[in-house]
């Protein structure tokens, strides 16, 4: 159990693309199929999350208190991001932003003394 949790934590240090988009969707409460559709819309079909993959991602997020189940209407469970999840997403967002800024500086010659 400890090993599993530790492994999950290690995997969640850097989010994969599907993880990142699933968390983005869960800024507001959404059920499983809603998440799959929203990820597809958000990415223009570039990132797809199948139901099995989504189930395991949500299970791992729930175990780590990153998302929580909020309601169950019409036998459909809805999930939303917790404060911990929001912090994780913000951290990842700034990490990615930093990567882009660094890339821009190097590739577009914006680095000091590069011109």
């Amino acid at each position: 159990m400890w090993k599993e949790k530790n492994m999950a934590r290690k995997q969640l240090q850097n989010l994969t693309e599907p993880m990142y988009y699933v968390l983005l969707c869960l800024k507001i409460p959404l059920h499983g199929y809603g998440i799959m559709q929203k990820v597809d819309q958000m990415t223009g079909g570039r990132v797809k999350v199948g139901p099995g993959t989504l189930y395991h991602l949500i299970a791992r997020f729930e175990a780590e208190d990153i998302v929580e189940q909020v309601s169950s209407t019409n036998n459909k469970k809805s999930y939303v991001m917790t404060k911990k999840g929001r912090d994780l997403l913000n951290k990842e967002f700034f990490r990615l932003k930093q990567l882009v800024l660094d890339g821009e500086r190097i590739l577009e010659g914006k680095l000091d003394g590069d011109s």
């Binding site: 994969t16 499983g32 999350v49 199948g50 139901p51 991602l57």
Partner: protein, 287 residues
Amino acid sequence: MGTVKNIINRDINKCGKRKKIKIVSAIDKKYLEKTYKDMAMKGWLVENIKGIRDTYRPIEPCELDFSVTCFQPVTPLDYPDYDKEDTYQEFCEDSGWTLAAKNERHFIYYKMPESKALPIYTEPMEEYRSIWNAMKKGELVTFPLLILLLVFQLWMGLKNLRFDDFYRTGGLFSVTYPSLILIVCVGYMIPLILWLIKNRSRAKENKPLIFDSYKKVRIRNGIYNSGLVLVFMYLIYSLFSMFTSYFNLTLLFVILINLVVPIGFGILLRIKIKKIKSKRSTGSFQS
């Protein structure tokens, strides 16, 4: 998206049901998917998978796409988590898959070929993990244990082997019998281990997992099943020849142990499982 339910059923009273035996491992996904697809084309839809027996119900022949997934594998001694099962089912059915059958290890879904439902697993690592978990509670525990027992049996046989055993009918039984079963077990384990090694690195690189083709699994299973039949025949032959040509108490003991112990163990396990299940249905910890 809603589930696909426009399968036309045939009269069950006229056609009856069909049963088929299959021996497969957790990695034989493609083989199972093709088997169920072929059966649907012939007008039979899998409705129950129990142990090594599949039951099919009659439908109008049609083309269906199947997806065989491993989900939260449970041993008979585990307490199944129905809430997790319901969530998994909800996600799959909402995205366009219909559940055909399930057991403690596999969930079998189908969809119409024209349906745009996403594959159940879009991340190779998640799929790899689900299969790994299924194997961890199955083949990866039972077979190494069996192999250890057989190695011990073989070692005992070799230790007690005498020169005149080579000239006696059945004298080598205590060596040949465990050796044969050992070959069958190792032969079964090797493809599993190779699959795990090969696909672990693929999953890490986010590449789709590779499964053995239908033909390859058929050949592999054919060899494996023939091996099992041969071993069983050898066991029966040894027992028969002992009563007709010679009598050896030690040999009789070895044969009986090999025949009686697995059957006895199976019966005991069945009783134990029945007890646990009846306890669960009447007990206070029913979810």
